[in-house]
């Protein structure tokens, strides 16, 4: 039996689909880790990106700080958080590391989207007597939302794929299969876990692609 057959047998074994180490539980854990990390990152990056983009000041700094975040290996952050007593090993360390991983594309895209809004449209809105907040809400965000959604899509998809790392520090999720399968050199969970992560990532990508199209105003796209 070759590795692919072993993987297929593992994936189709009913025992894999129930219990605390079953695939449904691991998928739920994987999504919980990804969504929590992404929600925290979005709560930080979106307001900062919007405000800086609206003001047109300090953006270069924000984008560069975001890019430094991109240069720090998520794996290193993960180990640092896990060894830090205030966080500890497990899922929390993984969520924190993923927050830092999710921030740069969100921040950069939001800022860039806001700066990409046609200056004439902004000037016209100001000329019509709209306040700063009104310009942001009624003109800039509707025009920028398409590009912002692209950032959200990129960021979330990457987070779902990378949440696999959580298993290295004793966390849950689909990475459990990959890490345990590797330790035991068992191609069933090793490859099966990798396939499940890929499928979940593609599914997230597909859902967000539809979402992105839905929120992008027809005139902009």
């Amino acid at each position: 039996m070759n590795d692919v057959e072993i993987m297929w047998q593992w994936l189709t074994d009913p025992a894999q689909w129930s219990g605390p180490n079953g695939i449904p539980v691991r998928v739920a854990e994987h999504l919980a880790i990804s969504c929590t990390a992404f929600a925290i990152a979005a709560a930080i990056a979106l307001p900062i990106g919007l405000v800086l983009g609206h003001r047109g000041k300090g953006g270069l700094l924000a984008v560069n700080v975001g890019n430094i975040g991109r240069a720090v290996p998520t794996f290193a952050l993960l180990i640092i958080f896990a060894s830090w007593d205030a966080v500890g090993v497990g899922t929390t360390a993984a969520i924190l590391a993923l927050v830092f991983f999710a921030l740069p594309p969100l921040l950069t895209n939001t800022y860039t989207a806001m700066r990409g809004v046609d200056a004439d449209a902004r000037d016209a809105a100001v000329g019509m007597g709209l306040s700063g907040g009104q310009v942001l809400r009624r003109v800039e965000v509707p025009l920028a939302v398409g590009l912002m959604a692209a950032g959200i899509r990129t960021s979330f998809t990457q987070v779902v794929a990378t949440a696999t790392l959580a298993a290295i520090v004793g966390g849950g999720g689909l990475g459990r299969y990959v890490v345990d399968g590797f330790a035991l050199q068992d191609p069933g969970p090793l490859l099966g876990g990798a396939v499940l992560v890929s499928l979940l990532t593609l599914a997230a990508e597909a859902v967000l692609a539809v979402g992105q199209r839905a929120v992008t105003p027809r005139a902009v796209s």
């Binding site: 007593d85 500890g88 090993v89 004793g170 345990d180 330790a183 035991l184 050199q185």
Partner: protein, 319 residues
């Protein structure tokens, strides 16, 4: 002006791309020429290390004395036995500092099926005799074991030990308390890890957290209270400093785990045995604890620690 700048940029890009291609090609070729014919002294030998400090120290010791014996040696840092074992049998690596009992049972279960009678015990001689036979059937030669040992051990925090007044694993089992166990991902499947703890000592494991093999994550998790019991190594140099207590293996669950060099048959030569024998016979468990402390706690490099020890023992003529 604009066109010359464009030309310059194109040339620079081409140059960078060619650098990238050649460097990739280089690493590809140097990566594939491991293994092969080390039968005569002077061949190439790759010494593999498991994924923890002690194994890296031992691999570096082997590498240094084999280099002194005229081999062109390198150390390859790998991870678990499930990775290292097959690599040794295929000749992808040539020499491994193995552990007597665990290696015997690893081969026993693979050769004789998952329900095979244990061939490793706490007796060094009989375990080694069994191992020689098993190793031969997979194309590996094992050399005389060192007196130095590193057994799997289970640790709790000092506070936990004092609070429950326990010092042995039997007493841990008698607590009749559901415990969270932490260790390497392969622990739930290993007879001397979780199953041994449950079957031999009657410990109730409510949950297993997959961390590392006696590494920083397991010890951190113990200190953090995320796990109650953690798999550590008996030769660990940092256990005391972290306020951890190793519980005594009073029913002899763990087998003799003397350091035993394992060599691929195709690479094996008497010169290898002669080079490694003095290292095995000089090394003691106390040495291991001290050397591990230098690497795990004092953050020295495994290669430096290995070299220093060999020089102190007079096994390496310092260059």
């Amino acid at each position: 002006m604009a066109s010359s700048r464009r030309l310059y940029r194109a040339v620079a890009t081409l140059f960078a791309a060619s650098l990238l291609v050649t460097s990739c090609a280089d690493s590809g070729s140097s990566g594939s020429d491991t293994g092969g014919d080390g039968a005569a002294a002077g061949g190439e030998l790759t010494v593999a290390a498991f994924g923890f400090g002690e194994s890296k120290i031992l691999a570096n010791m082997y590498s240094l004395v084999l280099a002194q014996a005229g081999y062109d040696t390198s150390v390859k840092e790998l991870t678990t036995r499930e990775v290292v074992g097959p690599a040794l049998e295929k000749g992808e690596v040539d020499v491994v500092p193995e552990y007597l009992g665990t290696y015997t049972e690893y081969l026993n279960l693979r050769e004789n099926g998952p329900d095979a009678e244990p061939l490793a015990s706490s007796d060094v001689e009989s375990t080694f005799t069994n191992l020689e036979e098993l190793a031969d059937s997979v194309g590996v030669t094992v050399l005389e074991p060192s007196p130095a040992q590193d057994q799997n051990a289970f640790a709790v925090t000092n506070a936990f030990a004092e609070q429950n007044d326990i010092s042995t694993l039997s007493e841990l089992g008698a607590l009749d308390q559901a415990l969270v166990l932490g260790g390497p991902p392969e622990c739930p499947k290993r007879p001397f890890c979780q199953p041994g703890l449950e079957n031999t000592y009657g410990v109730t494991v409510s949950e297993f957290t997959a961390l590392d093999a006696g590494g920083p994550l397991t010890k951190d998790a113990l200190a953090q209270g995320t796990i109650d019991v953690g798999l550590v190594f008996s030769s660990d140099g940092g256990i005391e400093a972290l306020d951890l207590t190793v519980l005594e293996d009073d029913l002899g669950l763990q087998t003799a785990e003397n350091i035993t060099p394992a060599v691929n048959n195709d690479s094996f030569g008497e010169a290898i045995a002669e080079a490694l024998a003095p290292v095995s016979s000089a090394l003691t468990t106390e040495d291991l604890v001290a050397l591990n402390k230098q690497v795990d706690i004092d953050r020295e490099q495994p290669a430096d620690v290995a070299q220093q020890w060999l020089e102190d023992q007079g096994l390496l003529t310092s260059s």
